[in-house]
C-alpha cells in the first residue's frame, strides 16, 4: 500500500528544475543576497521563506500582485449577476405580486446583490491565487524541510541566463549562506 502510494506520488510529482541553492538562517542576509543575485544579472530565481519577508519584493524586482483586478472584475460580475438574477426571477420569469411591491423592487434586492458581489470576488481571488502558486501540487520538491520553519533559501535554476555556478557560490557564501548545494526544485 505504502509502496503503491510512493510510486504514484513520483509519477504525479511535477518536474523540478536542476540548479544551485543557498541556505540561510538569517532572513536579512538572505534578502541582501537576493538583491545582489539580481544585480549580478540573474532575472528569474526563487527565494523560499517560512513567512513573507519584508523587502524581498523590491530586492527581487517582483511587481505588485495583479490579483486585485481579478477581485474587482469578479466583484462586478457578481454584482451584475445578482442584479440580473433577482430581476429575471422576480419580474420576468414568474412575476408575483408580493405585499403590493413592484415586481422589480431594487431596494429589497440590495442584500442579495451585495452577498453575490462578495462571494464572487472572494472565491475568484482565492482560485486565481491557488492557480498562480501552481497549487494543488502533489508532494513538490523541497530543498530543505526547514524552509517552512526557520531557514531561508535562494534557488537559481541552471538554465537561467546569467547562471554562473562559481560566481553564485561565492556570492552566497560571502553573504552569510550556511550551506550551498546542487539540488532540484
Amino acid at each position: 500500500m505504502d509502496k503503491l502510494f510512493t510510486t504514484l506520488e513520483n509519477l504525479l510529482r511535477p518536474k523540478g528544475k536542476k540548479g544551485l541553492a543557498g541556505i540561510w538562517e538569517d532572513d536579512h542576509k538572505m534578502v541582501e543576497a537576493a538583491r545582489k543575485t539580481r544585480e549580478m544579472g540573474v532575472k528569474k530565481f526563487d527565494a523560499i521563506s517560512p513567512f513573507p519577508l519584508h523587502g524581498i519584493d523590491e530586492a527581487m524586482g517582483i511587481p505588485r500582485s495583479w490579483i486585485p483586478w481579478v477581485t474587482f472584475i469578479f466583484g462586478l460580475t457578481g454584482c451584475a449577476f445578482g442584479t440580473w438574477f433577482t430581476w429575471w426571477t422576480s419580474a420576468v420569469d414568474w412575476p408575483l405580486i408580493i405585499a403590493g411591491k413592484p415586481f422589480w423592487s431594487l431596494p429589497a434586492f440590495v442584500p442579495i446583490i451585495f452577498e453575490c458581489t462578495i462571494l464572487f470576488a472572494a472565491l475568484s481571488s482565492v482560485g486565481v491565487m491557488i492557480g498562480l502558486c501552481r497549487m494543488p501540487t502533489i508532494d513538490p520538491h523541497t530543498i530543505d524541510p526547514d524552509l517552512t520553519c526557520h531557514k531561508f533559501a535562494i534557488f537559481v535554476p541552471e538554465d537561467e541566463p546569467g547562471f554562473d555556478q562559481a560566481k553564485l557560490e561565492s556570492l552566497f557564501k560571502e553573504n552569510g549562506a550556511t550551506d550551498v548545494r546542487q539540488t532540484e526544485f
Binding site: 502510494f5 510512493t6 538569517d26 536579512h28 542576509k29 541582501e32 537576493a34 526563487d46 523560499i48 521563506s49 517560512p50 513567512f51 513573507p52 519577508l53 519584508h54 524581498i56 519584493d57 527581487m60 517582483i62 505588485r64 500582485s65 490579483i67 486585485p68 477581485t71 426571477t89 422576480s90 414568474w94 408575483l96 408580493i98 405585499a99 411591491k101 423592487s105 429589497a108 434586492f109 442584500p111 442579495i112 451585495f114 452577498e115 462578495i118 462571494l119 470576488a121 472572494a122 472565491l123 481571488s125 482565492v126 491565487m129 491557488i130 498562480l132 502558486c133 497549487m135 494543488p136 501540487t137 502533489i138 508532494d139 513538490p140 526547514d146 524552509l147 517552512t148 520553519c149 526557520h150
Partner: protein, 452 residues
C-alpha cells in the same frame, strides 16, 4: 520613551515558534483533553437524540405556541451567529487596522467563527419543522413553474447572508492555514501524516512570488470580510426590524445587533482562550495577559454600546408617542417576562463594568466568570427581543406565556456539545496559532538588534 510591550514572551526563535505550535498536533493529548472531549461528545450525542425527536415528532415538542411563533431555535440561531462575529472582527478588521497583537489569536478566533456559524445554521433549518425540505430555500430551477424564492423577504436575505458568510469564513480560515499546514508536512516523520497534511497544504512551496500573491489575497479577503460581517448581522436584525411589529420595527437594530454580536463573540473568545491557556501552558507565551486585557476592554466598550441601545429603545418608545410601542417596552421590563429583561441588563451592562479596574482586566478567574455572564446575558437579549415582542399581541385574546420545554433546553445545551467537539478536535489537529503570522512579530518590543 515608552517601550513597546513584547507581543510574544520568552525570547523565542523561529524554530521555537514552530516547535511550540506544532507540538499540539504532533503529540498525543493527555487525560484531561480526552475527558473534555468525552464530555463534549456525550453532549453532542444527547443533542443528536434531541434533534432526532424534534424532527421525528414535530415542532410541537418545543415551546413555540400561538403568539410566540419564534422560540428557542431563532433565539439560539442569533446567539451563535453573533458569537461568530468576533472571530471575523479579530481576523479581518484588526488585520486591516494593522493591529499586530491579533496574530496569535486570529486563527482560533476564526475557527470559532466557522464552528459557531455551523452550529447556528442548523437552528433555522430545524425551526422550519421540515428540515428535509431545506433545499427549498435555494433558488434552483424546479418543476413547480419554476417557482422562485421570494427575494423581497428578509428571511431569504438571511439564507444568502449566512451561507456567503460561512463560505467566505471557511475560505479565509483555510487560506490562512495553508503555509502552516506545509510546515507540519515538512516536519512529519510518519508517511501518512506527511501525505494528509501535504494534501491539505495543496503543495505550498513558499517562494517569494507565492508570498506576494498570497499576502495580497489575504488582505483582499480581510477587506471583503469586513463589510460582509457587518452585513450579516444587519441582515439578521432585518429578520426582526422589517416586520411592522412594535418592539421589532426599529431603525437602531442593525448597529445594535452588530455591537451585541461583537460583544458576545469577544466574551466567547475570552472563555475559549482562558481554557486554551490553561490546557496548553506553552501558549501563555503567545496569548499573553496583554491580549486578554485588550479583549476585556473591547468587551466593556461594546457592552456599553449595547446598554446605550437598550436605553435608546426605551427613549424612542416614549418619544414616539405610539401607545403600542410604549406598551411593548413597559411590558418588556415589567411584564410576565420581565425577569429575562433584568437578567439581560445585569449580565450585559452592569457586570462588565468591573473591567474599569485594571486588576480585574488582568485576573483570569474574574474575566472567565464575566465572559460566562456575558454569554448568558446575550442569549437572554435575543430571548427578550423575540419573546417579549411576540407574547402580547394587539388583542388580549392573543396573549400567552412562553415556556421552554425539555426539548428547548436540550437543543440549546446540546448545541454547545456540537461546538465544543468541533473546537476540541480542531485544537489538536490543525495549527491553533498562525505560525507564519507570528514569526514576523516575535521581535516586537524586544531589545532591538539592528541588522545591516
Amino acid at each position: 520613551m515608552i517601550k513597546r510591550e513584547p507581543l510574544v514572551l520568552g525570547n523565542k526563535t523561529y524554530k521555537d515558534v514552530t516547535d511550540d505550535i506544532c507540538s499540539l498536533v504532533e503529540t498525543l493529548p493527555g487525560g484531561k483533553y480526552f475527558l473534555a472531549l468525552l464530555t463534549a461528545k456525550t453532549l453532542l450525542l444527547f443533542y443528536l437524540v434531541v434533534l432526532g425527536f424534534i424532527v421525528g415528532t414535530g415542532m410541537g415538542l418545543m415551546g413555540v405556541n400561538h403568539p410566540v411563533g419564534w422560540g428557542t431555535d431563532i433565539i439560539t440561531f442569533v446567539f451563535w451567529i453573533g458569537i461568530g462575529h468576533a472571530g471575523t472582527l479579530i481576523s479581518a478588521v484588526l488585520f486591516l487596522f494593522r493591529q499586530k497583537w491579533r496574530m496569535s489569536i486570529a486563527r482560533t478566533a476564526e475557527a470559532m467563527t466557522v464552528f459557531a456559524v455551523m452550529t447556528a445554521g442548523l437552528f433555522p433549518i430545524l425551526h422550519t419543522g421540515r428540515p428535509w425540505l431545506a433545499y427549498w430555500l435555494l433558488p434552483y430551477p424546479n418543476q413547480r413553474g419554476p417557482l422562485w424564492v421570494n427575494f423581497r423577504s428578509p428571511l431569504l436575505w438571511d439564507v444568502f447572508a449566512v451561507s456567503t458568510y460561512a463560505t467566505v469564513s471557511i475560505v479565509f480560515w483555510y487560506v490562512g492555514m495553508i503555509p502552516d499546514l506545509a510546515t507540519i508536512r515538512d516536519r512529519a516523520k510518519n508517511p501518512w501524516r506527511k501525505r494528509i497534511y501535504g494534501a491539505l497544504s495543496l503543495g505550498w512551496r513558499g517562494t517569494a512570488q507565492n508570498w506576494n500573491h498570497y499576502e495580497m489575497v489575504y488582505m483582499l479577503l480581510a477587506g471583503l470580510s469586513t463589510p460582509l460581517v457587518l452585513s450579516v448581522h444587519s441582515i439578521v436584525s432585518f429578520d426582526f426590524a422589517v416586520a411592522t411589529l412594535p418592539g421589532w420595527h426599529t431603525t437602531i437594530f442593525p448597529p445594535y445587533f452588530v455591537a451585541g454580536a461583537i460583544f458576545s463573540g469577544f466574551a466567547m473568545v475570552v472563555t475559549l482562550m482562558v481554557i486554551v491557556r490553561e490546557c496548553v501552558p506553552v501558549f501563555k507565551d503567545y496569548i499573553t495577559m496583554n491580549h486578554m486585557e485588550s479583549m476585556n476592554k473591547i468587551i466593556m466598550a461594546t457592552g456599553m454600546l449595547v446598554g446605550y441601545a437598550y436605553a435608546s429603545e426605551f427613549f424612542v418608545a416614549w418619544y414616539s408617542g405610539s401607545p403600542y410601542e410604549q406598551f411593548v417596552f413597559v411590558n418588556r421590563a415589567f411584564g410576565p417576562h420581565g425577569w429575562s429583561y433584568w437578567i439581560m441588563v445585569t449580565c450585559n451592562t452592569i457586570i462588565p463594568q468591573i473591567f474599569w479596574f485594571k486588576r480585574a482586566r488582568r485576573h483570569i478567574p474574574t474575566m472567565f466568570v464575566v465572559s460566562i455572564f456575558v454569554n448568558i446575558g446575550m442569549w437572554f437579549e435575543r430571548y427578550v427581543i423575540t419573546v417579549t415582542s411576540l407574547h402580547r399581541d394587539f388583542l388580549p385574546v392573543n396573549w400567552d406565556y412562553f415556556s421552554m420545554t425539555f426539548f428547548d433546553f436540550g437543543a440549546l445545551f446540546g448545541s454547545f456539545g456540537m461546538f465544543f467537539v468541533l473546537f476540541l478536535l480542531y485544537i489538536r489537529l490543525l495549527p491553533a496559532i498562525s505560525i507564519a503570522e507570528v514569526k514576523p512579530i516575535i521581535h516586537v518590543g524586544k531589545e532591538e538588534v539592528h541588522h545591516g
